[in-house]
């Protein structure tokens, strides 16, 4: 697996990229929370939220197509919400026979589902914009300075650093398995053996990964202790809020409040 699989940063010289990461984190979180609070079927507010999103992506010089493609990731999670179409009481729109069950999609259910779809889709796009315009280490600093508990920030930081190593490690294990999973000489047995056998091997590999990570954590800890770590992770603050940061952050918060207003008028 290539290391860039996890890196979502798109290098540009835009005003959004230059913005203090703390501002970006706060505005993004506010946008997502405000989105979740929008009532069902507040179409005008959804439209306004989308306009805000388009404005930010335009200012950040992030292409719409790119953003749409990335946002497809909400798909699988939306499946969990499909049930509301049938479970919410309302006027039945149709009647579907599914074996012993009868499914009745309702108008209220459909409205709820479409609203959930729009809300999560907008939220995910804003989060994608955040990671596309902010280097991950800056995000970690922002969380640190926003007083997110130290343990959480450390975990996120280490996860980011070692996700790549873990993926590479898994890749090496997979390759080693591939290169020894030959078909039988006479071509009779299938490549890689029976399903049960392959499942067993996969289980061993997961165990291997866990053990290797465990041992690595020991070595990393030693390396930290060797350089004076004593339980408190210290970092330096490379960010200073400029007046433009305050202003743009303020504009973002006001826009989010206006969208709430639109939804409730």
């Amino acid at each position: 697996m290539h290391v860039n699989t996890f890196d979502r940063y798109e290098s540009r010289q835009s005003a959004i990229h230059q913005l203090d990461p703390r501002v970006k984190v706060v505005v993004t979180v506010l946008f997502i929370v405000a989105n979740a609070l929008l009532p069902d079927g507040a179409w005008l507010a959804f439209l306004a939220a989308w306009a805000l999103l388009l404005f930010v992506s335009g200012a950040a010089q992030i292409g719409l197509g790119w953003l749409l493609k990335r946002s497809l990731i909400v798909g699988p999670f939306l499946l969990a919400a499909v049930t509301v179409v049938f479970t919410l009481p309302g006027n039945g729109l149709a009647q579907w026979q599914l074996g012993p069950w009868t499914l009745v999609p309702t108008d209220a259910g459909l409205l709820r589902f479409v609203s959930i779809f729009i809300r999560s889709w907008l939220s995910v796009q804003m989060a994608i914009l955040l990671t596309a315009t902010t280097q991950f280490p800056d995000l970690i600093h922002a969380l640190h300075h926003l007083r997110v508990p130290n343990v959480l920030v450390s975990i996120i930081s280490f996860m980011y650093r070692y996700l790549f190593e873990l993926a590479n490690e898994a890749g090496r294990l997979l390759r080693a398995r591939e290169s020894r999973s030959a078909a039988g000489v006479n071509g009779r047995s299938s490549s890689g053996g029976s399903l049960f056998w392959r499942a067993k091997i996969a289980g061993h590999m997961v165990g291997q990964l866990l053990l290797r990570s465990f041992e690595r954590s020991d070595r990393v800890y030693n390396a930290m202790v060797a350089r004076g770590y004593n339980g408190r992770l210290l970092t330096m603050n490379p960010h200073h809020m400029k007046s433009s940061d305050w202003q743009l952050g303020g504009v973002g918060v006001v826009a989010i409040l206006l969208i709430q207003l639109v939804a409730r008028l």
């Binding site: 280490p137 650093r161 070595r219 770590y229 970092t235 330096m236």
Partner: protein, 239 residues
């Protein structure tokens, strides 16, 4: 500390792991200021165990002294600033998201002011020839670059002695050459554990051979490398 105090003094150090395996059977080592010493021996000879004692990750107590200071629990914070320990795998050594943060880690945890930390990071990166890499992400570097930056992470602590575990392992010839030149130029006391006998011959005037938890030979590299019987009886080869 006067001029005659050795930078590193290990006196009859013994250690056994919790599973009962006796890794060190009374090790004596003295290294004076400015010496560059190679530590060789087969796998399992106790080299890594010895190295882990030098800054108190494994507790050697009074048996290990750095510039006259025993590695007791009370002294550990100072000991860790004096001993620059670089582990074999740079991915274990570089645990921060960016190069800058990794090189700043030691000085920050020594409690130095931010200006001084910045100055030391710049100086350490320049010393290993990686001055332009401060803002880079650690996982995007090649292994040779990682090794150099791993050395910078301890140079920024301004150590009395540099202790390296297998610095040339896994490097391609060009990266290995660059590393050898770097070690040659660094004006520091050094103890380097390695299997790279060519590097030992080229770089280290003195070598220590360990086997089965003991120091079995300690002397001039040029002399010891001629003693093929000695080398072969401890699984080593003349380069």
């Amino acid at each position: 500390m006067n001029e005659t105090t050795p930078t590193l003094l290990v006196n009859d150090l013994r250690f056994s792991y919790p599973d009962g395996h006796q890794a060190l059977n009374g090790v004596d080592v003295v290294i004076r200021r400015g010496e560059k010493v190679a530590l060789v021996g087969p796998n399992g000879a106790g080299k890594s165990t010895l190295i882990l004692h030098l800054n108190g990750i494994l507790n050697g107590g009074e048996q290990v002294q750095i510039a006259g200071m025993p590695t007791t629990r009370k002294n550990l914070p100072q000991i860790r600033a004096k001993v620059g320990l670089v582990f074999q795998n740079p991915d274990d050594q570089l645990f921060s998201p960016t190069v800058f943060e990794d090189v700043a880690f030691g000085p920050l945890h020594m409690g130095l002011p931010e200006d001084e930390v910045r100055r030391r990071v710049g100086y350490a990166l320049a010393q290993v020839g990686m001055g332009d890499f401060a803002g880079r992400l650690s996982h995007h570097l090649s292994i040779g670059q990682k090794k150099r930056i791993a050395i910078a992470t301890v140079l920024s602590m301004d150590p009395e002695i540099l202790v390296l575990d297998e610095p040339s392992a896994g490097l391609d010839p060009r990266a290995r050459r660059a590393l050898i030149n770097l070690l040659d130029e660094l004006p520091l006391t050094m103890l380097v554990s390695t299997h790279d006998m060519l590097m030992v011959r080229e770089l280290f005037p003195r070598m220590i051979i360990m086997d089965e938890g003991r120091v079995v030979a300690d002397g001039k590299t040029a002399v010891l490398l001629e003693d093929t019987t000695l080398l072969e009886s401890h699984g080593l080869e003349k380069p």
